[in-house]
């Protein structure tokens, strides 16, 4: 073993250690940001160590530079440009590209590497292609669904999808077995495997409803770790195997944690179809059907402002509609006015509000909402009975009381924010369309509920104007 090898192993070990510490630190609020930097540093170390060990030729350097420039620049631009509201889609896109990378490495080795390949290498190639392809196509579909580019086609909600997916899985298996069994790589089974596993990724993800997308992305993230570990077997890199296995396992745990937060089992997410899609006609797209509601009271921003002016305790419930309307700053402004008026303001954060866990925290943090005012569901639920006014901003399923009371509701059993306990509830919404899960909301018909129709940002701004015109802002100046 030469000095360079020893040096290389040392760097590899250090990189693994830092990656593990980084991953661990990311799960604590205080250390998260530095942990992320630590993981990035570890990645840089690993790459530097590898380059020292391999000592690439000048031609190789040129190609490495090309790939680095292309991917690095695009990554940099995407990360800087993408709006905070599009975070889940962005993570899905990145994840898909990671899967694609593993797929390409395995393809390249299978197709163009002249050396004789052993059984282990061929099995690794099969796994890498299979998981890489599923990760890629599944992530891209997930991104498309979150962006609203792709809906949930009808056939994916019938049992046809199981037949289709099983056929595709069998086709992948056949391709994989033939590919692994033959000592010379044959193109036929390889392409069968690529095609079938790509379609399988699409088939499985397409049937899953938008509300469950975060879980799917997390699971696919775990897959991309597995794909990386398989690629590690293909090229013979222990560091890659450790890191891939670590991310794969950690991703699985995170997926489980998310499922628990939504009171869903992983199996029902993957194979149960979209929540409520069968029972409601108006699924996906937010337009929805307005039939089914009989006792809806709507009111103007002016009336809502009057209720706010006298309220001692106000709770905002933000949802995806807030993110879409980019209304976080308007919300913060209203909250400041109310605080100046002597109201106690807090924000109720459901674990899965928005399109991804933590989505609302990120969004409100952007508007400088103080951390202590963001209250998690279990803490705030007992507080609702002594809350004067609740304003629901573009949230729907997470405040549906049916989840507690109606065993026939598809949401039954999901923990929800018990806003129906509050004295008065205003729901700011663009229309009476069904929520993301496509289910009617009993909250809207309760006697203490009034709907304020409109875009969340516009409504919040109107509320601010109304409050100011009633002298709320000026009172502050006097009081201060």
């Amino acid at each position: 073993m030469s000095a360079i090898d020893v040096f290389g192993y040392g760097i590899d070990l250090l990189a693994v250690l830092l990656l593990a510490l980084g991953l661990k630190g990311l799960s604590k609020v205080r250390s998260a940001r530095s942990a992320n930097g630590l993981a990035a540093l570890a990645m840089g170390l690993a790459v530097a160590g590898l380059l020292i060990q391999l000592q690439p030729s000048p031609t190789a350097w040129l190609w490495i530079a090309l790939g680095t420039a292309g991917g690095g620049l695009l990554g940099l631009l995407t990360a800087q440009r993408v709006p905070m509201t599009a975070m889940p889609e962005t993570v899905a896109l990145f994840n898909g590209c990671g899967g694609m990378a593993s797929l390409l490495v395995a393809l390249a080795v299978a197709l163009f590497d002249p050396g004789d390949s052993g059984l282990v290498e061929r099995i690794s190639i099969v796994i890498s292609v299979f998981v890489g392809a599923i990760t890629f196509s599944g992530s891209i579909v997930a991104m498309g669904k979150l962006q609203g580019w792709i809906g949930t086609p009808g056939w994916t909600q019938s049992s046809v999808r199981h037949a289709v997916n099983i056929t595709l899985a069998l086709a992948s298996l056949v391709g994989g077995v033939f590919l692994a069994a033959s000592p010379v790589s044959e193109a036929g089974p390889l392409w069968l495997l690529v095609l079938a596993s790509t379609l399988l990724g699409i088939g499985v993800t397409l049937s899953i409803g938008g509300a469950d997308m975060p879980v799917v992305i997390s699971l696919l993230n775990s897959y991309s770790g597995v794909a990386a570990a398989a690629a590690g077997f293909v090229v013979g890199s222990q560091l890659l195997i450790v890191a891939g296995a670590m991310v794969g396992a950690a991703g699985l745990i995170l997926t489980q944690v998310m499922c628990t937060a939504m009171n869903r089992s992983l199996l029902s997410v993957l194979f149960g179809g979209a929540l409520g899609a069968g029972s409601s006609g108006g699924h996906v797209g937010g337009g929805g059907d307005e039939a089914g509601y009989s006792r809806i009271v709507s009111c103007s921003a002016e009336e809502c402002a009057m209720a706010l002016e006298t309220a001692e305790r106000v709770v905002f419930v933000p949802g995806y509609g807030l993110a879409v309307a980019q209304a976080q700053h308007a919300l913060r402004e209203l909250a400041k006015l109310l605080e100046a008026n002597g109201s106690e303001v807090s924000y109720a954060i459901h674990p899965v509000a928005g399109r991804m866990p933590g989505h609302m925290n990120v969004l409100l943090a952007e508007a400088d909402v103080p951390y202590e005012q963001l209250i998690e569901m279990d803490t705030i639920n007992p507080e609702f009975p002594r809350t004067d006014v609740v304003i629901v901003l573009g949230a729907n399923d997470v405040v549906n009381p049916d989840a507690k009371t109606d065993p026939s509701s598809p949401l039954y059993g999901m923990p929800v924010l018990e806003v129906d306990q509050a004295r008065q509830v205003f729901v700011v919404k663009r229309s009476l369309g069904a929520g993301y899960a496509g289910i009617a909301n009993a909250l809207f018909e309760l006697p203490q509920t009034a709907m304020v129709f409109g875009d969340a940002k516009a409504v919040l701004q109107q509320l601010c104007t109304e409050l100011r015109s009633q002298g709320v802002g000026s009172k502050v100046a006097v009081a201060a």
């Binding site: 990656l19 991953l23 661990k24 799960s27 609020v29 940001r33 992320n36 993981a39 990645m43 380059l51 391999l54 031609t59 190609w63 490495i64 790939g67 680095t68 991917g71 695009l74 995407t78 990360a79 975070m87 993570v91 990145f94 590209c97 990671g98 694609m100 990378a101 593993s102 797929l103 390409l104 490495v105 390249a108 163009f112 975060p214 770790g225 690629a231 077997f233 013979g236 222990q238 890659l240 450790v242 890191a243 891939g244 296995a245 670590m246 794969g248 396992a249 950690a250 699985l252 745990i253 995170l254 944690v257 998310m258 954060i349 991804m356 866990p357 933590g358 990120v362 963001l374 998690e376």
Partner: protein, 99 residues
């Protein structure tokens, strides 16, 4: 790879480590953690670089290696930066509340 045995041990221990690393995660951190783990899974860059370095001048290997390196680095760089952007918001708010 020095031996398959060794690689399988590495796989096993790596998986066990991953299972232990994450226990309780506050919901606030689900998204950043997922995004950070996602960036780490872009470690496939190592495979891409190995592929290029050991291509022996074979054009298709070089090309595929470079393309896969591009994809993987897109994942890594984009992933870490986006995670940092999200987490920066938490820390800014915290210091704001402290002052």
């Amino acid at each position: 790879m020095s031996s398959l045995d060794q690689a399988l041990w590495v796989l096993l221990l790596g998986s066990l480590l991953g299972l232990e690393l994450i226990g309780k995660v506050p919901p606030t951190l689900h998204t950043p953690l997922m995004s950070g783990a996602n960036a780490i899974s872009g470690i496939t860059v190592l495979a891409s670089i190995t592929l290029i370095a050991e291509a022996d001048g074979s054009p298709p290997l070089l090309l595929l290696g470079a393309v896969s390196l591009g994809f993987a680095l897109f994942n890594v760089i984009g992933g870490f930066l986006v995670t940092d952007r999200m987490l920066a918001m938490f820390s800014r708010k915290k210091s704001g509340a402290g002052s």
